[in-house]
Symmetry: C2
Subunit: 347 residues, 2 copies
């Protein structure tokens, strides 16, 4: 039977309540709760017991209010984006050992990025980690003027003071995919792109460059796509109608590739027999046995770790404020191709 929370007057118990029960000062209770040094072993135990007895729980807001440092990292993410979920998971894991807490703020239908960032600022976060932000660079610059900001998976043309970037080498990923396909014997390789989505431009460029390098410039074919299954499917329908049909397709991401696959299957086009398909992200989707998608993997755990690392470094290491190494404003993580069952030699 769990003990009754037992605040005498129905209010939530405070430091003072614990102090009174243990017969010590509030300051000492604070010391014990923070696991700071400066309390004797016996007293420490007595205080902890008292806290347990009355069901005391430190008030995070009051704590943050008082301490100069809030040790709070604000994370803005897209509620409907599975890849962001992976990143957030990694961020939780990375922030904890560094002694930071996470405040989440979602970007959703009726809730834009502006709004999401506002609430994080109001919550007194020390730094912001933005996942795939779509806001204009000027807006990011404005934020970066107020506190350290790390942008994940969104590339920026030029450095912005106070803003750092962590991203995957998207062009390199596209290159790996093309190399793989060419290695299998493919020549007519199409790309279903991601439009204006973060990373799309780089992947497009990487595809083009790689094709040219293999002397396949005349086979370059970019179809407008997007980040959802729907958009992949509609692009795939276009591909089926095209003559000659490509023998391989590189899709913008895994969801897009799934849409492509689905249309192919329904039309009796076998994969990889008739056409090979490559995705991007290595999300859970791709790993499912029945999809078994060859894809370019983004290392979400690594991206998360780097993002948190950068934010923390900016906060802790005051020295950097002066040295500010201009070259080190972005981390570019290498992608790695994961070969599964949707690619093979052309017939």
């Amino acid at each position: 039977m769990p003990e009754t929370p037992a605040a005498p007057d129905g209010k939530r118990p405070t430091l003072a309540d614990v102090a009174a029960r243990a017969g010590v000062s509030t300051a000492l209770v604070s010391i014990v709760m923070r696991e700071a040094k400066g309390a004797g072993a016996a007293t420490r135990e007595r205080v902890l017991q008292a806290a347990r007895d009355i069901g005391y729980r430190p008030d995070a807001r009051a704590r943050l209010l008082r301490s100069q440092r809030s040790r709070l990292l604000g994370v803005q993410f897209g509620l409907q984006q599975p890849f962001h979920a992976d990143l957030v998971e990694g961020i939780y894991a990375a922030a904890e050992p560094a002694g930071y807490q996470i405040a989440l703020s979602a970007v959703a239908a009726g809730r834009g990025e502006q709004r999401a960032a506002e609430t994080l600022l109001a919550d007194r976060c020390e730094a912001l980690v933005l996942l795939g932000p779509q806001a204009p660079a000027a807006r990011l610059a404005e934020l970066a003027r107020q506190l350290p900001v790390v942008s994940v998976a969104r590339r920026l043309r030029s450095p912005i003071p106070g803003l750092e970037v962590v991203r995957t080498a998207d062009d390199e990923g596209a290159r790996q995919a093309v190399d793989h396909l060419v290695g299998l014997g493919h020549r007519d390789i199409a790309h279903v792109d991601g439009g204006r989505a973060p990373g799309a431009a780089d992947r497009r460029r990487g595809y083009r460059t790689a094709m040219n390098r293999h002397g396949l410039g005349e086979h370059i074919r970019v179809l407008p796509g997007g980040l959802t299954e729907e958009e992949g499917a509609s692009a795939a329908r276009g591909l089926l109608a095209a003559r000659p049909r490509p023998t391989a397709v590189l899709a913008f991401n895994d969801r897009c590739a799934t849409g492509v696959l689905d249309v192919f299957l329904r039309s009796g086009v076998t994969v990889p027999g008739d056409i090979s398909v490559v995705g991007f992200d290595d999300s859970h989707l791709a790993r499912l046995a029945h999809i078994d998608l060859t894809t370019v993997g983004q290392d979400s755990a690594r991206l998360a770790r780097l993002a948190v690392g950068r934010a923390v470094a900016r906060l802790e290491d005051v020295a950097r404020l002066e040295g500010e190494d201009a070259a080190a404003w972005e981390d570019v993580v290498a992608p790695r191709l994961v070969v599964r069952g949707t690619t093979g030699a052309p017939r």
Copy 2:
């Protein structure tokens, strides 16, 4: 060019800074910022201008600390569950007009429900909304003793004081699906279930009851499934091997149904020609043109609205603390069948 945030000493501006600049007291600035009455029009404008000038932004923590009411709703959700994303979206939308803020806490790989709930409590939420909680009833009861708790999409065998439930009538949903299929002429209808997932037991029961009611008891066939594509796929492989093959399948949810569909397509079994498939949830997935899944829709917006409504009612309406209508501890929302392209008459 946006104005410089311009805190003279590099710290974030406070009420006092605004007050000094506008030549009034901090209390008056507070009044203006809260849009409370008690300030003249001219002064109000002057204060607002001063606030804009120095880039003042109210400190949410300090505000919550002082005011007795925090007007903060804690929401615990599964980071990897798309349906929860829909619910959170609805919750944001419902909380705003009621004048409540949302604090998110994710359940993820290294972060259990216990942990997620702890941080919400520490953040001083006034009430908790738990999305599909898996914690044992005893744990929920313990939470409910401390503050109002609403459980969404998790049914409870018996009422727990302080805990309310908002859920879909899962059994009714399964019934609708079976009725639809029987109406089309199907008799041999299998069910790929969700194991111990929230709602799975009810859907199983609804399926069994409906089959019996149609005199199809001998055709009842429940295959162990789960909430992911993977599990749906593996159940589907089992179905293909079975003799006689069923002419229709009701899957636990849309993801599961997608897995079933995929295996069928790969094996040359046409849908709905050879076999009809029905999902559950009406998630984004089901609506995609190329999947076009007949499914039992859960009204996430409505569930969200009800959950927030209950939480708010508990907080605002003190009278209820006494009247406590025992009959009204749960809201059951009717599902509605959405007929799309994966169901048809059996051959």
